[in-house]
């Protein structure tokens, strides 16, 4: 059966596009390699809150799916999910916008790439994305200006977050509420966030997850959902695709899904790999890769972690939510762009396991005393990485358990950027002391900081592998996300970001997906 559209990838971008196209009367086949797991299921929730397990635990990368060969390791396990709904199934829902200067990196810094368009062009799509996702925050005091209110007022901030905000104020630092994907009022049939603190598996859908987009689509006649691993884009000639070859993960067969238009929305790494695997007579280095930029400019968001502690915690302060509610974008301004911006926020989970203490037989007095005893907290800094052409991915021999090609990663973080980490560390220690907590230890993701040594960064928020450019010689896709030189294949993933900024990328991706949907049907 031939459809108008084939979409590869059932994450937030694929879901938004499929929903939009179906509303416009188009026929869509969506191909997703990951499983569909039960969400908002009361029994699963009961199991989650008592064990910590979720139905998507088995949907992460396996260790052998990646082969690291660069100066630093990029760890994909835990950073992304192969599941219907994509990585938003496990995200914390932070939805900041990129700042206007993030779109002008090269012009301002002399390195990297400018986006082909500016913040103002994307602003209305940001707004639509915030309404679709259901974002709550205090819109009046954000560093990035907006024209209209957010759909929802802010959730109640945690006490740690307020302590952080007060410390920032005393230091003269900017701080604001982080926009989060929680509906504080009913939205699309979902009840509001109940603030249970069990967001990793929300029982009511109070946190937006990408699978929600599919709930109404499954019953539409114009929609087909295929559990399959995309092997390559099938090309008719140099400029026209005719569909996608897949491994059907239900039958095990290799077959073709034919479509007039193909949209690749399979996450940054898998989208780039699919183009690499789609070699053809006219595209010997991979589809869309005449420029040589496909698979390059790999960046992620290293997470700087400063663990802080106090001996006495009489107020029982601790992170109160699954997600941060407050951040400082003091170091996310234009003046910090040259060295790498950072968004700073209190984070981390509880360090006192009350249930375990009870199971161990501690007395009620001991359990209560523990809540006011020594405590630890993590301050986190989401760091903008400087782009490097040498930082890249390639196809590695063999396939993963899902039938997708394995990934070879050459992850390279420039020495300048690494050196600047120590500057951020000093800033983080300063706000920690202002909050009344003592710095204990500092890490980049899971690794202790050893400036000359090898360390590992978790692959959260990978961008840059199919970057967007006005000129075909500078990137892989054009400003409308269509592959340069191909008439009917688009890429909609974080991979198209020409530069990452310090903000979480998902809201920007959702805005790009809405914009692409409009362009396709206009």
């Amino acid at each position: 059966m031939r459809r108008k559209y084939a979409i590869v990838g059932g994450g937030i971008a694929g879901g938004i596009l499929a929903k939009h196209l179906l509303r416009q009367g188009q026929e869509v086949t969506l191909i997703e390699a990951g499983m569909t797991v039960p969400m908002r299921d009361p029994a699963q929730w009961l199991h989650h809150v008592t064990t910590g397990e979720t139905p998507y635990d088995g949907c992460a990368d396996l260790q052998d799916s990646v082969q690291n060969e660069g100066p630093q390791d990029l760890v994909l396990k835990g950073s992304r999910l192969f599941v219907r709904g994509g990585s938003t199934v496990h995200w914390d829902g932070c939805c900041p916008r990129l700042a206007p200067e993030d779109f002008e990196k090269a012009s301002r810094c002399g390195f990297g790439m400018d986006w082909p368009f500016g913040y103002d062009l994307l602003e209305p799509f940001y707004e639509r994305a915030e309404h679709l996702i259901g974002v709550s925050a205090d819109y009046r005091h954000g560093r990035v200006k907006r024209r209209n209110p957010l759909p929802f007022p802010p959730l109640k901030a945690g006490r740690i977050d307020l302590q952080f905000a007060e410390a920032c104020e005393r230091l003269g630092w900017q701080s604001e509420r982080i926009p989060v994907a929680r509906n504080v009022q009913p939205l699309d049939g979902r009840v509001p966030c109940q603030n249970t603190g069990t967001c990793a598996y929300c029982p009511v859908g109070g946190r937006f997850t990408g699978d929600l987009l599919f709930d109404q689509m499954d019953h539409e006649r114009s929609f087909s959902y295929v559990r399959g691993a995309a092997r390559r884009v099938l090309m008719n000639d140099a400029h026209l695709a005719e569909g996608v070859e897949i491994t059907d993960l239900v039958t095990g067969d290799t077959r073709s899904v034919f479509a007039d238009r193909v949209i690749i929305a399979a996450g940054a790494i898998e989208s780039a790999k699919l183009l690499m695997a789609s070699r053809a007579r006219d595209w010997t280095a991979g589809l869309g890769n005449h420029s040589g930029h496909l698979g390059r400019h790999l960046t992620a968001h290293p997470l700087l972690k400063l663990w802080v502690g106090r001996d006495v915690n009489s107020e029982r302060l601790r992170p109160e939510h699954f997600f941060p509610t407050w951040c400082s974008r003091e170091f996310d301004g234009p003046e910090h762009q040259q060295q790498g911006k950072m968004i700073l926020f209190p984070f981390g989970g509880p360090t006192v396991d009350l249930a375990r203490m009870i199971a161990e037989g501690r007395s009620p007095e001991e359990v209560r005393a523990a809540t006011q005893g020594p405590a630890e907290l993590m301050l986190a800094g989401l760091l903008e990485m400087r782009e490097s052409e040498a930082s890249r991915i390639e196809l590695a021999p063999g396939t993963t358990a899902l039938g997708l090609p394995r990934t070879r990663i050459h992850f390279e973080w420039t020495r300048d950027s690494i050196a600047h980490v120590s500057t951020h560390r000093v800033r983080m220690e300063r706000v920690a002391r202002e909050m009344g907590w003592q710095p204990l230890r500092f890490q980049i993701d899971q690794s202790p900081v050893v400036p000359e040594g090898r360390f590992a960064v978790r692959g959260d928020h990978v961008t840059g592998l199919c970057r967007m450019s006005t000129r075909a010689s500078d990137g892989v896709v054009d400003p409308d996300l269509r592959i340069h030189g191909v008439d009917n294949v688009w890429v909609c993933s974080n991979a198209v970001f020409p530069s990452p900024g310090a903000a979480n990328p998902t809201l920007t991706l959702a805005a790009l997906a809405i914009r692409l949907g409009d362009r396709l049907t206009s």
Binding site: T198, E320, G349, P350, T351, R356, G361
Partner: protein, 165 residues
């Protein structure tokens, strides 16, 4: 509240056949420690749903945990019964079924031995503590017990600090 606790403990002991040794170390856990023998590594076999009597005995254990560690007033704890019952049924229905864990825990209530809790439970008593008592405490905490211990929200992920960004 104290009076209710005493009644609950007595009722608990009647149900389980345990013998309370008065003043044994002064620890309330001495009661649960008295469950412990035998502690072989093989769980009791079990299949099918729990009987109504078994579910009620598990609920009594849940009440005991909640009241002993002050995870809510007696009235608040009673309100949680339907949720606990739903959890018993869900845990037994899903693979891997908890029916063996639950029957194991109930059977141990009339034995005594002291065993410390380890990461990977190896004995039947450790199983009872890890998969039953700990989980019952966790569910009490999420259903409102966190307020009783002074936390405004639950956010008590049992597997430690979260790494999701």
């Amino acid at each position: 509240m104290t009076r209710s606790k005493r009644i609950t403990r007595r009722r608990f002991l009647q149900l389980t056949g345990a013998i309370l040794i008065a003043g044994a170390g002064g620890s309330l856990w001495s009661l649960l420690q008295s469950f412990s023998k035998p502690t072989g590594s093989t769980l009791l076999k079990g299949s099918g749903p729990l009987s109504d009597a078994e579910r009620e005995r598990l609920w009594e254990l849940a009440v005991f945990v909640g009241q002993t560690w002050d995870l809510g007033s007696p009235a608040e704890i009673q309100i949680r019964k339907a949720t606990f019952m739903a959890m018993f049924d869900a845990k037994v229905a899903r693979p891997i079924s908890y029916v063996g864990e639950y029957r194991n825990a109930l059977s141990l209530l009339s034995h005594r031995e002291t065993v410390s809790l380890r990461e990977a439970p190896r004995s039947r008593l450790e199983h009872a503590r890890y998969y039953v008592v700990r989980e019952f405490a966790q569910l009490h905490l999420v259903l409102g017990g966190h307020l009783s211990v002074g936390y405004p929200t639950f956010f008590g992920h049992p597997t430690g600090p979260l790494e999701v960004v």
